[in-house]
């Protein structure tokens, strides 16, 4: 057979998808964190008694010391902005299908940053170290988006 069949073959593409449904266990530690937000609008972290780090979201273990974390501690709800970006492109994965503004927020009393959405703020007004407070969603279901977003604290 002639060699050129390779050249005049129409390149086909098989359009498909992977749609396997997942049901991820949140675990006891994460469930406590999310239910406190849902039921009491309280944000909890966990402290490592070895290194004093306070993790938000709370961890069962201290990833640095590799021991179980100690007590639950209430953090925030206000905090300080560490890093941020305003997204300018569309994605069906964005909550509400609106290009979001993201921040890493160090909640008062925590030693780590929480990644979340920012709202009620012009992108040009965002500054490092800006003070932020959470806005809670109604109703709440035990989901990370029970915190709708963080907004600048108005004094």
């Amino acid at each position: 057979m002639a060699y050129d069949w390779l050249q005049d073959t129409e390149p086909m593409v098989y359009e498909s998808r992977i749609q396997v449904p997942y049901s991820w266990s949140v675990g006891d530690t994460g469930s406590r964190f999310l239910t406190e937000i849902r039921d009491h609008k309280r944000i909890l972290g966990k402290r490592c008694e070895a290194c004093e780090s306070v993790y938000v979201p709370p961890r069962k273990m201290c990833p640095r010391c590799f021991v179980d974390t100690g007590p639950w501690v209430e953090v925030g709800p206000s905090g300080t902005l560490v890093a941020f970006t305003r997204v300018r492109y569309a994605s069906e994965l964005h909550p509400g299908h609106v290009p979001p503004t993201y921040g890493i927020i160090r909640l008062d009393g925590s030693t780590t940053g929480l990644v979340h959405l920012l709202g009620e703020v012009e992108p040009n007004a965002l500054r490092p170290e800006m003070r932020l407070e959470p806005v809670f969603r109604e109703p709440r279901t035990g989901h990370i988006l029970d915190i709708a977003y963080f907004r600048p604290t108005h004094r």
Binding site: Y14, W24, G27, G30, K60
Partner: protein, 385 residues
């Protein structure tokens, strides 16, 4: 000459249908902590981490990065290996090479799975070619059913022969506190269980399990200080033969035949039935317990059933297979191959509790997965030459 390597300890979760109390990272942490406790080491002593599972089983991309909190990999060399069902055994083989390289002294190797978090058959089906195989294939059960049908056709084996394998493994599992299904079943119960894919029925197949396993590999000189009787790695071999399902040779498991012959040659095994004291094999379904032991050279082709009925592979028999209860009793897939290796090591170390086989000097473990792939790891009580 390469450095010698030994397994010095391991940790397993108590494997269950569903672990709602922990997320995947916390499940990994549980196994890892148990391995550290078993060896008296802390994470500071560990100089590298290898981890594996299958991405689409839990729907997590870059698991090595995601699991750092639980794997202890913060600041350490951390690597992910994935080869499907063989992942666990692939991890064990990597644990051997990486320590034998001289670059690591105490390496933590972790396999894990949360089968409860997805539809396992859907997830397995995505392992196969999207254009040619995926639309007709139905995961592991369909592939294994096809193999069973050919085995029965070729050698005249029966569903009752296969059921004997399930009965053995489920009986053994009662002795293993970590096993998932710890309840004996009878031949009749296996034969009358609901049909899945002819000739396979529910009790011919492995369950879906949540669980994790962590194993610590150490270099010569270090191993003896951690553990009085480490399990030395005598050799490893593997074969991952096919890209398309239709290329496989369904009469037997060629990958296991070839890998085992290479391994026996390396280690100097001439009569495996006599020279190997115990086997922990990745037998995901009953018929594998007949046909694959033939491929391992324990008997001529077609004579697997005879070995089973004679009790040769039962605890107390000449060559006990799966004293842990095996995969039919417990299958956290990403961990399963590593559990086989950990169990073989426990047997060599004399730490297998009620499921201990007396006087184990040489133990073989296997992994199975992919497109009829096989991995083998052999451990022993004596340092290899």
């Amino acid at each position: 000459m390469a450095n010698r390597v030994a397994i010095v300890g391991s940790g397993q979760t108590h494997h269950r249908t569903r672990r709602l109390d922990v997320n995947g990272v916390e499940l990994i942490y549980e196994a890892t902590q148990r391995a550290l406790e078993d060896t008296g080491l802390t994470m500071k002593d560990i100089d590298g981490v290898i981890i594996g599972n299958m991405d689409h089983f839990e729907g997590i991309n870059y698991v090595d990065c995601w699991s750092i909190d639980g794997s202890g990999g913060w600041g350490k060399p951390t690597l992910k290996l994935t080869t499907g069902g063989t992942t666990g055994s692939t991890l064990a083989i990597a644990g051997y090479h990486m320590v034998a390289s001289g670059l690591f002294d105490r390496l933590l190797v972790i396999g894990w799975e949360k089968n409860s978090e997805s539809d396992t058959t859907a997830a397995i089906t995505t392992a196969f070619d999207p254009v040619w195989d995926r639309s007709v294939f139905a995961g592991a059960i369909s592939g294994l059913a096809v193999e069973a049908s050919v085995y029965m056709h070729t050698y005249g084996a029966t569903e009752r022969d296969a059921a004997r394998v399930t009965v053995r493994d489920r009986r053994h599992a009662c002795l293993n506190p970590f096993a998932h299904l710890r309840k004996e079943v009878t031949l009749e119960e296996v034969l009358s269980s609901p049909p899945l894919a002819d000739p396979l029925k529910l009790l011919d197949m492995c369950p879906r399990t949540d669980g994790a396993c962590a194993v610590i590999f150490a270099s010569e000189g270090v191993a003896e200080r951690i553990c009085p009787r480490p399990a030395w790695i005598l050799g490893t071999a593997n074969r991952h033969l096919y890209t398309y399902l239709g290329d496989a040779d369904y009469v037997g498991l060629k990958s296991l035949r070839h890998a085992s012959r290479e391994l026996y040659e390396k280690v100097g095994i001439r009569e495996p039935l006599k020279e190997i004291d115990v086997m922990e094999l990745y037998l995901p379904y009953s018929f594998a317990g007949l046909s694959w032991i033939e491929e391992l050279g324990l008997c001529p082709p077609g004579e697997g059933p005879r070995l089973l009925w004679d009790g040769v592979t039962d605890l107390g028999g000449e060559l006990p297979i799966n004293p842990s209860g095996g995969v039919i009793s417990c299958n956290p897939i990403g961990a399963t191959g590593l559990i086989r290796c950990a169990e073989a090591a426990l047997q060599v170390m004399g730490k297998a509790g009620e499921r201990q086989v007396p006087d184990v000097h040489v133990a073989l473990s296997s992994g199975f997965g992919g497109c009829w792939w096989s991995d083998l790891v052999m451990v022993g009580s004596t340092k290899p030459a």
